[in-house]
């Protein structure tokens, strides 16, 4: 009996070893720069190592961030490891990942915090170990960050406003659907659009929250159509709400220009089919790429801008195929 048990334990250990071994090799393949093994990597401790920790590695969005980060690593000749928990709700797991990378004494961290205020104690720990932290995608109220590298939401909102103004001209009636009240990302997007629309003489008749959901976007739009049947254009501050609004508009057999935000795969598909008019696409590839660039600069002690805009662009029927091909190429499909 004892012998059997011992055999099993040894077997389990061997299994763990094998797993860790193949895990290690996966880790290497996910390093953009050098093709070194874990051991060599620690020997060459002068080489810059950047850990990129995202909210989760379960969507195209984060895979694009990952691809950008790795390409930056390859270009700059630094080691880049991209990690993320299994789901965006795993806040404590993400914090553990940050802590473990600090233990590994990486040269710099680039983090997209799932819950910004919760990650601050971990950032403080990085600072105590003199590891610079760049925030990517999502900002956190932490003074000592090197930089925030992410979408310029205000500029993106202005682009949406300009697009609607160009398409519809003076006096057109516009409705805006936005994410949850008090969410700064959606404040910026909505405010950017409102500023341009007003300056160009369009009429923003209503701004309503639809909590970034497709279902809610649809019901809010149904109500808006009841109250303002003469609406000519809609700007939704994310694609989910835009696609929901579109359904309401289709059901009412109206012809209204709808502009979303994000450039999500669903939205691109809808644009290609001629349903959604446009989407203000974020650039997750740039978020990863420029995030690593900023982290490397910080690791070398060079100065980095406090805010880096990763750019947005208007996707319409004219350029949607190009954008889709481009994303597919980055994702390797």
């Amino acid at each position: 009996m004892r012998k059997k048990l011992l055999a099993i334990i040894l077997l389990a250990a061997a299994m763990a070893f094998a797993l860790a071994g193949c895990g290690g090799s996966k880790g290497q393949s996910s390093q953009g720069g050098g093709k070194e093994t874990a051991k060599q990597e620690t020997q060459a401790s002068d080489k810059i190592r950047v850990a990129v920790i995202v909210k989760a590695l379960n969507s195209d969005y984060w895979h694009l961030v990952e691809a950008g980060a790795k390409d930056a690593g390859a270009k700059l000749g630094v080691d880049v490891t991209v990690l993320g928990p299994a789901a965006e709700t795993q806040v404590t797991e993400q914090i553990s990942m940050i802590e473990d990378q600090i233990t590994k004494k990486v040269s710099a961290l680039a983090v997209a915090p799932s819950q910004p205020s919760s990650a601050i104690p971990a950032f403080e720990r990085a600072k105590a170990q003199k590891i610079p932290v760049v925030l990517i995608d999502t900002d956190a109220p932490w003074q000592d960050k090197v930089s925030f590298v992410g979408t310029g939401n205000y500029v993106g909102g202005k682009q949406a406003g300009e697009f609607l103004a160009k398409k519809l001209g003076k006096g057109a009636k516009i409705a805006i659907l936005r994410g949850a009240l008090g969410d700064p990302t959606h404040d910026e997007r909505a405010n950017g659009a409102v500023e341009v629309l007003k300056a160009q003489g369009l009429d923003v008749v209503t701004i309503q929250p639809a909590n970034s959901e497709r279902q809610m976007g649809m019901s809010v739009m149904e109500n808006i159509l009841q109250a303002h049947p003469d609406i000519q254009g809609v700007f939704a501050t994310n694609d989910e709400m835009a696609l929901g609004a579109l359904r309401a508009i289709e059901a009412a057999h109206k012809n209204i220009i709808v502009v979303g935000f994000d450039g999500s795969p669903d939205a691109l598909k809808s644009i290609k089919e001629g349903k959604l008019t446009a989407s203000i696409a974020q650039n997750p590839y740039n978020i990863g790429y420029m995030g690593v660039e900023a982290a490397v600069k910080a690791a070398k002690g060079e100065s980095v801008e406090k805010r880096i805009d990763t750019g947005t662009k208007v996707i319409t029927k004219e350029n949607v195929q190009e954008e889709m091909d481009n994303l597919a190429k980055i994702l390797g499909r």
């Binding site: 009996m1 004892r2 059997k4 048990l5 099993i8 334990i9 077997l11 389990a12 250990a13 299994m15 763990a16 070893f17 797993l19 860790a20 071994g21 895990g23 290690g24 996966k26 880790g27 290497q28 996910s30 390093q31 874990a38 620690t42 989760a56 590695l57 490891t81 990690l83 993320g84 928990p85 299994a86 789901a87 709700t89 795993q90 806040v91 404590t92 797991e93 914090i95 553990s96 990942m97 802590e99 473990d100 990378q101 233990t103 590994k104 004494k105 819950q115 205020s117 919760s118 601050i120 104690p121 949850a180």
Partner: protein, 337 residues
């Protein structure tokens, strides 16, 4: 259910004969410990950052929440039950603490106490559903509570996180005593208390008896229903305690906290050598089980292994550990024939 009862009957003498058989239990919890040591040795070789004071303290902190939930889960599994609601109970009790302390400016002490009582109450309800409403299996009662508590947590917070606790509330999860995290010291204290409770008190012995053979326990005068209610109440209470540590760790309470934690806790208990059929298991085995999971995650993080593969590794460890349990059952049955 009937089948498990009859299996229990086979095993029962094994639990009651103390002195002689205990070495076997010791060996099995030692089995998990040996696994932990081997795993650590392998990781020490693979990653130079693994065996450092800093990292060991990280592991101590990262394991604390799961350890605290697991010790409550151990009690339910000892009675051949299960508590699926712990993750949701953790979430609801922490968001209630947050609302009381941050939004309503109740004194932190009262707010925390209320949250802990809520956790215990939800556990108590699990016990009542099982014993008084005679729901057929704790899987069902706690599955119900799991959904109710999660839904309530989402409703009362409007699905948004609440942050900004005073440090007194964060103390258990955030403070250090020298290099040692307070959360891990709490784990040790709690585990010592539960060890004494299970081995030195009548109620503790009853818990093993109920898991070993509920019918025999009832006939020999064990208040089975009361024991079950106590067990689920303690499980809910420990989930709320773990929630308090989580608050300190992330300085926030959020309605989706603890999602899937029940599965981590079950895994820790099972890896730690407790039997799913009840009656067998120790707090120290459970602690080792929780540490194995934390070491595995930490080590794979250090090696830069993706979260997906970590999940696979933990799954493999669970199957391996339960296979040991199966072999043990077989050996015991063979020994009796």
């Amino acid at each position: 259910m009937l089948k498990t009862v009859s299996e229990k009957a086979v095993k029962e003498p094994d639990i009651q004969a103390e002195g002689k058989i205990n070495w076997k239990d010791l060996l099995y919890s030692l089995g998990a410990l040996l696994g932990l040591i081997l795993l650590s040795a392998v990781l020490t070789v693979l990653s130079p950052d693994f065996l450092t004071l800093n990292n060991l303290m990280n592991i101590a902190r990262q394991s604390a929440i799961n350890s605290l939930i697991s010790v409550g889960m151990l009690l339910t599994i000892l009675t051949a039950g299960i508590d699926l609601s712990v993750g949701s109970v953790l979430a609801l009790s922490t968001v209630v603490m947050a609302i009381l302390i941050i939004k309503l400016h109740v004194s932190p002490f009262i707010g925390v106490l209320a949250g802990l009582c809520l956790g215990a109450f939800l556990g108590f309800m699990n016990g009542i559903l099982l014993t008084k409403l005679h729901l057929p299996h704790p899987f069902i009662s706690t599955l119900g509570t799991m959904n109710i508590a999660r839904g309530l947590a989402l409703i009362v917070t409007g699905a948004t996180p609440i942050s900004g606790f005073p440090f007194s509330v964060q103390f258990l999860g955030a403070a250090f005593w020298g290099p040692i995290p307070v959360s891990f010291m709490l784990v040790l204290v709690v585990f010592i208390i539960f060890h004494l409770f299970l081995t030195r008190t009548t109620t503790g012995r009853y818990i093993y008896a109920v898991g070993g053979n509920p019918e025999a326990a009832r006939l020999s005068g064990v208040p089975v229903e009361r024991v079950l209610v106590i067990v689920y109440t303690l499980s809910g209470f420990m989930a709320a305690v773990a929630g308090l540590v989580l608050i300190g760790r992330v300085n926030a309470a959020y309605p989706l906290a603890g999602l899937g934690y029940e599965l981590d806790a079950i895994a820790a208990v099972i890896i730690g050598g407790a039997s799913f059929f009840g009656g067998v298991g120790t707090v120290w085995g459970t602690l080792v089980g929780a540490l194995i999971m934390a070491v595995l995650r930490n080590g794979l993080n250090l090696l830069g292994v993706s979260a997906d593969l970590q999940t696979v590794a933990i799954g493999a460890v669970i199957i391996g550990a339960v296979y040991i349990d199966v072999l043990r059952q077989r050996a015991i049955n063979k020994g009796r024939r």
